[in-house]
């Protein structure tokens, strides 16, 4: 719950968080080290100075720390944890559904744990989707199309094997597909950040919601074009939002483009925890005004009502959360963490 300076209580659903283990003990090779180092560079590159963490704290978080950062010091009411395996880089995976579920079970009702699969596993991927549905009753998945898998250095949403998986997701009611679309390194022959495959997949799977994390940056124009055509494509603000501190005017341009093209109903807040923490991001977003010239040029406003939608109401709709009922439930069950 975020309480605004004038006392209004805002429901916050943080759509993009992780419970990862990037520590040296879990790293399989140099790629594992370089991967978490790159995340740490994002953290140091865009965080306010007083929010910087030591490397060891960044590499792996304790259960207590996560609850504190998100729900006690942070304003989240609920958070969605994404699973990312990177099995070629990390011995036990980077962030697994089993480990995240253990975290979630400490304080029921706070977390939505999403699964993940790799369509290149073929039949096994289909079996695994069944397993995740039956064991964890997942409502969504995170797709990381740049993941290495043996000789393959990535895949596309439009691959036939991926379509089989999405068909199964639709059938099982796993409706929310979060797709990482940010800097990737393949395919080498093309513009490496293409979001074209989202266009096809979203058209062919109207029953699924496609949440594009990092709103396709650095392909914001292509993304906006697709998200404007396709009613089931959404923008996740993870990575875009931290610019609000380092380059506020630039953030104004991004959010103005999104508001102009795809509108206030399809933009979702995500802290990308543990790269950044929600407390400062939400505070800064609430206090933020788009610079006048940029707002006028686009003809858009970022009102309190729109901020409230971005911070939680939009995502609540996608995940079938009755906000009033959820607020009442959470008020009865404050977050408990082990005494220190």
């Amino acid at each position: 719950m975020y309480t605004t300076p004038d006392g209004k209580e805002i429901f916050v659903l943080d759509c993009h968080t992780h419970f990862w283990n990037g520590s040296p003990e879990n790293q399989r090779n140099i790629h594992g080290k370089q991967f978490i180092d790159c995340f740490y560079a994002y953290h140091t590159g865009l965080s306010p100075k007083e929010q910087l963490w030591e490397k060891s704290r960044f590499e792996k978080q304790s259960v207590e720390q996560v609850y504190r950062d998100l729900f006690i010091d942070g304003p989240d009411d609920m958070a969605i944890i994404q699973s990312t395996y990177l099995k070629d880089f990390y011995k036990e995976g980077f962030s697994s559904i089993e480990r995240s579920t253990q975290l979630a079970n400490v304080n029921p009702g706070r977390f939505i744990v999403n699964g993940s699969f790799d369509p290149r596993d073929g039949e096994k991927a289909l079996e695994y989707i069944h397993y995740m549905k039956e064991t964890f009753d997942i409502k969504g998945v995170k797709m990381y199309t740049a993941e290495w898998n043996g000789d393959s250095k990535g895949w596309k949403l439009t691959d036939p094997a991926a379509y089989k998986c999405f068909e199964l997701c639709e059938k099982l009611g796993i409706r929310n597909v979060h797709v990482h679309k940010g800097p990737t390194i393949i395919p080498l022959s093309k513009d490496a950040f293409s979001v074209d495959d989202v266009d096809y997949a979203a058209t062919d799977f109207q029953g699924l919601n496609w949440i594009i994390e990092h709103c396709g940056l650095p392909r914001l124009d292509d993304f906006c074009w697709i998200a404007t055509q396709e009613t089931n494509v959404y923008a996740g603000l993870a990575v875009a939002l931290p610019f609000i501190h380092a380059r506020p005017r630039y953030f104004g341009e991004i959010i103005s483009e999104l508001l102009f093209w795809i509108g206030p109903e399809k933009i979702l807040f995500g802290s990308d925890y543990a790269i950044w923490t929600p407390q400062w991001l939400v505070e800064k977003l609430w206090a933020y005004q788009i610079p006048e010239d940029i707002a006028a040029e686009h003809g858009v406003q970022l009102t309190d009502e729109i901020k409230e939608k971005i911070l939680g109401l939009n995502a609540a709709r996608l995940y079938d959360i009755d906000v009033a009922a959820k607020r009442a439930e959470l008020a009865q069950t404050p977050v408990r963490i082990a005494a220190e």
Binding site: S189, D191, A192, D221
Partner: protein
């Protein structure tokens, strides 16, 4: 990040030429971005090492930069040999082997490039650079009160006569825009229009608004790359800005207290 030690007139000449090599995604010189770690000249042989903001930077861009570096360094008549070395990158070995043997990118990365070569990528980024530079100049003119018709009607001769002294960004991009405009044959004669599309079509006054919207989205994407690259490079090279301040938390986190010697050679921070 920063400058490598440059010793001697020949090294200075190579350094100056490297200023024309840009990061394709950012359209900014690699020398300004601090990517070049080492530049040495000995008996006509040039050694250049460079490093990108992350281990994961796209290998095609890395290759384009490596190739650009090699060509720029080969240009002076006195150069007999050039060795380019990309450091700390997931495909460093392959990029280095390719660029130093003169192999084509698609031969080295055949299994990952679907048989296509890099010319398409090159063309894409050339277009983006052209449009980004164009936007900067047009924004400058708009800030000076120019109408749409005045802007779309400007000729190359008129362009060359522009005084943009009060618009620093437009002034900086003016020669860079002209360079692509002329090199790619989009305008050649004094009466040719200065502002055209990448397909060399003229702009119409009533279409300028839509055109500018497109240019703005290209700039937003490129600025994202630029901001990320600078941030990541700063973190990777442990060179967060600390100009004249007391040590701050970041310095403790990155083990920079007591302060590092600024005169250290590039090799010492590998």
């Amino acid at each position: 990040m920063g400058l490598p030690q440059i010793r001697g007139a020949q090294a200075r000449e190579v350094w100056r030429r490297l200023g024309a090599v840009t990061d394709p995604e950012l359209d900014e010189p690699i020398t300004d971005m601090g990517f070049v770690e080492r530049l040495e000249v000995r008996r006509g042989e040039v050694d250049i090492s460079f490093r990108l903001p992350t281990y994961w930077c796209s290998p095609n861009f890395a290759f384009l930069m490596a190739d650009g570096i090699r060509k720029a360094a080969m240009a002076p008549a006195w150069v007999s040999k050039v060795r380019v070395r990309l450091m700390d990158h997931c495909f460093a070995d392959r990029v280095n082997a390719a660029v130093n043997s003169g192999e084509a990118f698609d031969a080295v990365f055949a299994e990952m490039s679907d048989g296509a070569d890099l010319s398409e990528v090159r063309e894409t980024f050339r277009e983006k650079a052209f449009l980004r530079r164009q936007e900067a100049v047009i924004l400058g003119l708009k800030a000076m009160g120019w109408t749409a018709a005045q802007i779309t009607g400007l000729t190359l001769a008129g362009y060359d006569a522009l005084n943009l002294d009060n618009q620093p960004e437009a002034a900086a991009q003016k020669p860079r825009y002209r360079e692509i405009l002329v090199e790619d044959g989009l305008a050649l004669l004094p009466d040719d229009l200065a502002f055209v599309t990448w397909r060399a079509d003229p702009l119409l006054p009533e279409g300028l608004g839509d055109h500018m919207m497109r240019l703005r989205s290209i700039r937003i994407n490129m600025e994202f790359n630029g901001a990320m690259c600078r941030g990541l490079a700063a973190a990777r090279y442990k060179e967060v800005d600390r100009s004249g301040e007391e040590p701050e938390l970041i310095d403790f986190l990155l083990g920079r207290v007591p302060p590092r010697d600024h005169g250290a050679s590039p090799q010492s921070r590998s």
